[in-house]
């Protein structure tokens, strides 16, 4: 069968259809006049051609009626039409059932539109399918908004993912830097201590050795702060009680005397990192003082208490020793260190001496 004979057959079928409906038939009139693009196809003819289309369909697709009649609707498809949608339409036609699908179609001028296509079989009295009726609706606006929305969402998600990665990278870089700086600070503090110790070791002069040991003692208090600050989970806080315990045990153990009794009453007291160094130096002086006054020479008792009753932070060192003469220069230096650090953290000090017992109590308010 040639194309022209096929078109003639389709035209005939269209005319027969019209003949069944007088021009005053309101259904026919409605079909022709409606703004909804519609076509009718004839499945009993070869390749189910269009036998009738309305003006709205020509307006939508750009094809005049004479170029439509006799052709299968697939000419509306193009390179970007989803083959899956096409397959759905084909199987609905084959199975003679309704179908509703959104499909990308092409106009005569090559431009595209999103077509909300609805196809429904029309049956005669014998339930034979004699026509297919199809209506189209241009939903390009809706579809493009959906596409825009989807792409906007995708862009936003990509931006969030990028930002998250940037933050992860920045955090990693920062962590590496903090570890590197921490490593250097620790090594430098230990190197400073080593230099002081080496010189003390090489010196034959007791005074020089003594002075260098005194410097070493304060440097090491600071080193310990650095070690403890970074070991804790919360880098920003420092437990004074933990520091005090280690300090007193280390100092007294190193004296290697079995006639010193240590007692402790400690509960964790956390202070912000900025107060860690002055407080460590304060504890260092409080413990160092009784060691110099007699513990290292004649033994005795030392009691250490670090507590935080009702908001006040109290460090107390109570010692019982047989007093020995102290080096006044060293004593003055220790006192100056203590007073300066007390001023730094705005703490006050009370000293009580009863016979061989000395009680030194430092009180300061801790920020919440």
């Amino acid at each position: 069968m040639t194309d022209s004979s096929a078109r003639r057959d389709a035209e005939d079928a269209g005319r027969r259809l019209l003949a069944e409906h007088a021009s005053e038939d309101p259904f026919a009139a409605a079909f022709k006049a409606t703004r909804m693009p519609m076509i009718i196809t004839d499945p009993r003819q070869h390749d189910n051609p269009i036998i009738f289309s309305n003006g709205a369909f020509s307006d939508l697709t750009g094809y005049p009626p004479e170029e439509l009649t006799g052709r299968n609707c697939r000419f509306l498809q193009g390179p970007n039409t989803d083959p899956e949608s096409v397959a759905k339409i084909r199987s609905a036609i084959d199975e003679q059932r309704d179908i509703s699908v959104n499909i990308l179609n092409y106009r005569k001028d090559g431009s595209t539109f999103w077509n909300a296509l609805y196809i429904s079989p029309v049956r005669d009295r014998n339930n034979e399918v004699i026509y297919f009726f199809a209506s189209q609706l241009d939903v390009t606006d809706v579809k493009s908004k959906e596409v825009q929305l989807a792409s906007a969402k995708q862009e936003a998600e990509a931006a969030v993912a990028q930002r998250t990665q940037d933050l992860v990278d920045a955090l990693e870089a920062k962590t590496t830097l903090v570890h590197e700086v921490d490593h250097r600070v620790k090594n430098n503090l230990l190197t400073i201590a080593s230099i002081v110790k080496l010189q003390a070791r090489m010196s034959t002069d007791d005074t020089v050795r003594h002075t260098l040991r005194s410097v070493l003692n304060r440097v090491e208090a600071l080193s310990t702060v650095q070690r403890k600050l970074f070991t804790s989970h919360d880098v920003g806080r420092f437990d004074v009680a933990d520091f005090a315990r280690e300090l007193v045990v280390d100092i007294v153990s190193a004296l290697k005397r079995d006639d010193i009794v240590i007692t402790m009453d400690l509960s964790p007291v956390f202070v912000p990192a900025v107060k860690a160094s002055p407080l460590a130096l304060i504890v260092n002086e409080l413990v160092g003082d009784p060691v110099r006054r007699g513990l290292s020479d004649g033994g005795g008792e030392i009691h250490l208490s670090v507590k935080q009753p009702n908001g006040h932070f109290v460090i107390e060192v109570r010692d019982t020793t047989e007093p020995v003469p102290v080096n006044s220069e060293e004593d003055d230096f220790g006192r100056l260190m203590l007073e300066t650090c007390l001023r730094q953290v705005n703490a006050k000090l009370e000293r009580t001496i009863e016979g061989r017992q000395t009680i030194v109590r430092v009180t300061l308010m801790v920020d919440n």
Binding site: N187, R245, D250
Partner: protein, 137 residues
């Protein structure tokens, strides 16, 4: 006791050596890298070692520790970052955290000396972080 020191900072190694000798031990070798340390272990057969984790050739102190553990030589890690040490301490007795103090180091040395002489009654000082108890199979 014959002791090896593995430390890539010369000044720290020198000072540690002085402390070890002051405690009555002999330092049989100082190493700054993994290969140097392994050479000393095989040649000098030290009885104990101090091992820094980070050496000139990277975090190879762990390898040195493994080598010591395989030969049954007790040792401690000396490091600024305890988290660098594997959880099982690769057979180390414990670790001394940097920056240690003179007292802390002397107390750790004293404890190690006693323990190696078989005195298990002594308590470890705060400056020595002990390895987790090993399960016997």
């Amino acid at each position: 006791m014959k002791i090896m020191i593995v430390e890539d900072e010369a000044l720290l190694a020198l000072e540690l050596e002085a402390e070890v000798e002051a405690a009555g031990h002999d330092v049989v070798g100082q190493a700054m890298s993994r290969d140097e340390a392994i050479g000393i272990i095989d040649k000098e057969q030290p009885e104990f070692a101090f091992v820094d984790v980070h050496l000139v050739d990277g975090p190879s102190g762990i390898d040195v520790g493994r080598h010591l553990a395989e030969r049954g030589i007790p040792y401690v890690f000396v490091t600024g970052n305890l988290k660098r040490i594997p959880e099982d301490f690769v057979g180390a007795v414990g670790a001394i955290e940097k920056p240690y103090t003179m007292n802390g180091l002397q107390n750790a040395l004293d404890y190690i000396g006693r323990r190696l002489r078989g005195d298990y009654g002594v308590r470890p000082p705060p400056s020595l972080v002990m390895a987790p108890a090993r399960h016997s199979n």
